[in-house]
C-alpha cells in the first residue's frame, strides 16, 4: 500500500536528477538555489514532508545537475543526496558537500555592506560549521547563521 501510494506521488523518471533526503520543508528553497522558477522547460516534481521519513524530494527530468551547483544545497540541507538517473537507473549517487566558499548565491545580511550597493563586488562568503552552517562575508565580515534561506539571491 505504501509503495503504491508513493509511486502515485512521485513517478520514476527516465533521465535526470533526483535530490533525496532534503531537510523536510526545504524543497522550495532547494529549487530557488538551483534557479528553478517554473519559467524554464524542465519537468519538476516536488514532494514535501514525506510522512514516513520526514524529508522532501525533488525530481528534475532531463537535466543532470553538476556537483558544484548542487553543493550549494548543503547550505540549507546538509544531508541531501543527489542521484543522477539514466534510463530509469541510478547512474551516479553522491552526497552534497558543504563548499568552503560561495559566490553569488547569498547576499550579505548587512545592509551597509559594499556588496549591497551598485559597486562591482559580488557577495562572497567563507563557510564554516559551528553549531550550524556559518557564512562569513569576505567583504564586511558579517556572519549569517540560521537565516541563510532568507538571503538567497
Amino acid at each position: 500500500m505504501t509503495v503504491q501510494s508513493k509511486e502515485l506521488r512521485v513517478r520514476r523518471i527516465k533521465n535526470g536528477t533526483v535530490i533525496d533526503h532534503i531537510t523536510a520543508g526545504q524543497a522550495l528553497t532547494v529549487l530557488r538555489i538551483l534557479g528553478i522558477t517554473g519559467q524554464s522547460d524542465e519537468v519538476v516534481s516536488v514532494v514535501m514532508n514525506v510522512s514516513d521519513r520526514k524529508k522532501d524530494i525533488v525530481k528534475i527530468e532531463d537535466r543532470e545537475l553538476d556537483p558544484e551547483e548542487v553543493d550549494t544545497i548543503a547550505l540549507i540541507s546538509p544531508d541531501a543526496t543527489i542521484n543522477i538517473i539514466r534510463d530509469y537507473k541510478v547512474a551516479e549517487k553522491h552526497e552534497v558537500i558543504l563548499p568552503q566558499h560561495i559566490e553569488g548565491v547569498v547576499r550579505c545580511m548587512n545592509p551597509n555592506c559594499i556588496t549591497n550597493t551598485d559597486e562591482p563586488a559580488l557577495a562572497g562568503f567563507e563557510i564554516s560549521r559551528g553549531k550550524g552552517v556559518e557564512l562569513r562575508c569576505v567583504y564586511c565580515g558579517k556572519v549569517i547563521t540560521d537565516q541563510i534561506a532568507d538571503f538567497l539571491i
Binding site: N112, C113, I114, T117, E119, P120, Y139, C140, G141, V143
Partner: protein, 301 residues
C-alpha cells in the same frame, strides 16, 4: 612583503611585531625629523567621510618619509559627485599614485578597492568595519607605554558598536592578554567576538562597573558612549557619568596604569587627568605618525 592593509585579522602576530619594530625605528623621524625613505613616491588619500585626524596623520607620515601626498579633495566637486563608483575611482587613482589610503562609509569598501587597485590600498576606516592603522597605533602605545604581552586591559564604554575596541580586542587576543569588558548592559561586547576571544585563550571578565577593573589593570582604554544609543537622555546622562574618569577615580590604581582613548573625547576623561602620569592619550595620537610611517614604508618598499 605586505601589500594591502585592510583588516587587522589578516595579520599574524609576527607581521604585527614587525610593523611595531619598524615604527620604533622611525619614531625619532616622526617627531621633528625628516628622511628620504619614500622620496619620489606619491600617496593618494581618498576620504569619502571627513576624518581630519587620520588624514593629517597619514599626510604627516608620508611627508616625514620624504614622499608626496595627493588628495582627491572634497567629494562634492569630484567625479564621485557625478556618480562614478568606487571601483572606477580606484582604478583611475591607482594610475596616479604608489599607494592609496581610503576611508569609506560602507563596510567592506577597502577589501573591494584592493581588488581593483594596482597599488597597495590602506584602509583608514570602512563604515562600522575595520580601521587597522588605529589598532596598530593602539598596540604600539601599549607596547611602548606599558607591556603588550600578557597585558591586563579594561575596554570601557560602547563595546557593542565600537569598531576600535572590536579590532583591538581581536589583536590583543594574540598577546596572552586578560580583558575586562566594561560597558552598560545595552552596549555589551557582541557574543560572536566574545566567542572568538575565548577560543583564542583570552581571559575575559564582563562587568558594568568600572570599579571592578580600575584597580587591577595595566591599561584603561576608554571610548565614547554616544547619546543616540540611548532612547532616554536621562539614562544616557546617568550611564555616561558612571564611566567618567577623574583624578578622584584614580586614587586606587596601579602606579604604572596608563589611560588610552582614541580621541576625540567628549566627557569620558576629565581634563584634570591630563596632567597625571597615567594620561597617554595625546602621545597615543602622536604614535599614529610613526606607525603609519612604518606601514607606508613597508607597502611601498
Amino acid at each position: 612583503m605586505m601589500r594591502h592593509v585592510i583588516s587587522i585579522k589578516d595579520f599574524s602576530r609576527d607581521t604585527i611585531d614587525g610593523i611595531l619594530d619598524r615604527a620604533a625605528e622611525l619614531e625619532s623621524i616622526a617627531s621633528g625629523g625628516s628622511s628620504n625613505i619614500l622620496s619620489g613616491r606619491i600617496l593618494a588619500t581618498l576620504f569619502y567621510e571627513p576624518s581630519t585626524r587620520t588624514r593629517l596623520s597619514f599626510d604627516s607620515a608620508m611627508k616625514r618619509l620624504g614622499g608626496n601626498v595627493i588628495d582627491f579633495g572634497s567629494i562634492e566637486v569630484s567625479s564621485i559627485a557625478k556618480g562614478e563608483n568606487l571601483a572606477d575611482t580606484i582604478s583611475v587613482l591607482s594610475g596616479y599614485a604608489d599607494a592609496i589610503v581610503l576611508r569609506h562609509p560602507r563596510e567592506g569598501a577597502a577589501r573591494m578597492a584592493s581588488e581593483f587597485s594596482s597599488v597597495p590600498v590602506i584602509n583608514a576606516g570602512d563604515g562600522a568595519g575595520q580601521h587597522p592603522t588605529q589598532t596598530l597605533l593602539d598596540l604600539y602605545t601599549i607596547r611602548k607605554e606599558s607591556k603588550l604581552n600578557g597585558v591586563k586591559i579594561a575596554l570601557v564604554g560602547d563595546l557593542k558598536y565600537g569598531r576600535t575596541v572590536h579590532s583591538l580586542a581581536h589583536a590583543l587576543s594574540m598577546y596572552n592578554s586578560e580583558m575586562y569588558l566594561v560597558s552598560p548592559e545595552q552596549l555589551k561586547m557582541p557574543d560572536s567576538i566574545k566567542d572568538d576571544l575565548t577560543k583564542s585563550g583570552t581571559k575575559i571578565i564582563e562587568t558594568t562597573n568600572i570599579d571592578d577593573a580600575i584597580g587591577v589593570v595595566d591599561v584603561l582604554y576608554l571610548t565614547r558612549i554616544q547619546k543616540e544609543r540611548f532612547p532616554d537622555p536621562a539614562e544616557y546622562q546617568m550611564v555616561a557619568g558612571s564611566y567618567k574618569v577623574t583624578k578622584d577615580t584614580l586614587k586606587e590604581v596601579k602606579d604604572d596604569l596608563i589611560i588610552m582613548h582614541p580621541l576625540p573625547r567628549v566627557n569620558e576623561i576629565d581634563s584634570d587627568v591630563d596632567s597625571t602620569r597615567h594620561a597617554v592619550y595625546f602621545r597615543q595620537s602622536f604614535y599614529g605618525v610613526p606607525v603609519r610611517m612604518a606601514i607606508l614604508s613597508m607597502v611601498m618598499a
